[in-house]
């Protein structure tokens, strides 16, 4: 019976070159291993040495990158329209949902800060803003007990911010929930597989990192110049974005390293092949 040294190496090479979901990759490896072992066993029974039998079985099967390419092409071509839409929705729901949850959490935290330190730190208008009589009337209708037009406007903006943040949070939870439900529902089919996880991790890291730096910087700068006029909201938003950034960093870093390794090994293969 052949020792599966060469076959193991071949399977490793095949796995490296496959661009299919985990379930299909596992199935391909099991089928390929079974085929190669049977082919090698038959050659051993016919008198070949185990190493020679394995080598011939692998040679008959074809180069691993070529076999993997056929599997990869087949997976891409046979994907149904429904599967494409499902993947698009899954991706959009995850990205949008996480973003909306971040916005919702930031809004709720801002509301908490506003209640603790004054609503004008979150939703105050810029100093020097003038209000027309009509706008003032609108604001007083919303906040009849306010001391003046500026306070009524702040109450109005604060309420608007809280409602929008709550809506974002609910929508975000629904979007992520629907994503998780659909992923589970289609986990056993190819339709729900192959989400671009690396892209999600990298995009999340860059988006939350960028938003965190910009918002925190904007809020800090504004606070240095003027403690009111909603600067605390930018600070809170920035800090929440940085917290999400910290959560994304490990996955984003792994994804970047994987992409970089692949690009490097592709370059080396291209150089070697020249």
């Amino acid at each position: 019976m052949p020792s599966p040294g060469l076959i193991d190496d071949y399977l490793d090479e095949l796995l490296d070159a496959l661009r299919v979901d985990g379930r299909r990759a596992r199935r391909i490896l099991i089928e390929t291993e079974d085929h190669l072992l049977q082919a090698a066993n038959e050659r051993v029974a016919a008198g070949a040495t185990p190493a020679e039998a394995e080598r011939l079985a692998i040679e008959r099967f074809g180069p691993a990158p070529e076999v993997a390419r056929r599997f990869n092409d087949g997976a891409a071509q046979a994907l149904s329209q429904r599967a494409w839409f499902l993947r698009l929705y899954l991706y959009a729901a995850l990205l949008g949902g996480v973003g909306l949850i971040a916005v919702g959490i930031a809004g709720q935290m801002s509301a908490g800060v506003g209640l603790a330190f004054g609503k004008d730190t979150i939703a105050g208008d810029q100093p020097g803003v003038t209000y027309t009589a009509a706008r003032c009337a609108d604001y007083f209708e919303y906040a009849p007990g306010a001391a003046n037009c500026e306070a009524a406007a702040t109450d109005h903006h604060f309420g608007e911010l809280w409602r929008n943040a709550s809506a974002a949070l609910i929508l975000g939870v629904l979007a992520v929930g629907s994503h998780l439900w659909l992923r589970r529902r289609y986990a056993k089919s190819d339709d729900g597989a192959m989400l671009p996880r690396r892209a999600f991790a990298i995009l999340g890291t860059v988006a939350f990192g960028g938003a965190g730096v910009l918002l925190t910087g904007f809020g800090a700068l504004g606070t240095g110049l003027n403690a009111h006029a909603g600067n605390a909201m930018y600070l809170v938003d920035g800090l929440v974005a940085l917290a999400f950034f910290a959560a994304f960093v490990p996955a984003g870093w792994r994804a970047l390293r994987a992409v970089s390794d692949e690009a490097r090994s592709g370059y080396v293969e291209a150089v070697v092949a020249r």
Binding site: F61, G74, A78
Partner: protein, 112 residues
């Protein structure tokens, strides 16, 4: 025969082989070789992606079996595959008949 000549006909061959009953990949390849008297001796790794593609097209279905103590994927033709086989076989007969016809016919005599 070079694999290029088989391009486009592999689906028909695989569906034809599975028409006689469920088989696993290795047996399908052996049957292909046996029925063609060794003419269709293509790289074995090309058959599995084709089987997976046929399954995605709902022409065949597959399941794991472990009759030999090892897990094996058994493929079998389903209704969609039978319909596709009938269509492809008809197209092939028409095509090969036309080729034969062209090759057998003698050229018209040149006008005097």
């Amino acid at each position: 025969m070079t694999p290029d000549l088989l391009k486009g006909h592999l689906d028909l061959l695989l569906l034809s082989i599975l028409e006689s009953g469920p088989l696993h990949g290795y047996a399908i390849i052996e049957e292909l070789r046996r029925r063609s008297d060794g003419t269709f001796d293509l790289p074995e790794g090309t058959v599995y992606p084709a089987l997976h593609r046929l399954e995605r097209l709902a022409y065949v279905s597959s399941h794991w079996s472990d009759e030999t103590g090892r897990r094996r994927r058994q493929y079998q033709l389903n209704d969609g595959g039978r319909a596709a086989l009938a269509k492809k076989a008809g197209e092939w007969r028409e095509f090969s008949g036309a080729i034969e016809s062209v090759m057998r016919r003698t050229p018209c005599p040149a006008p005097a």
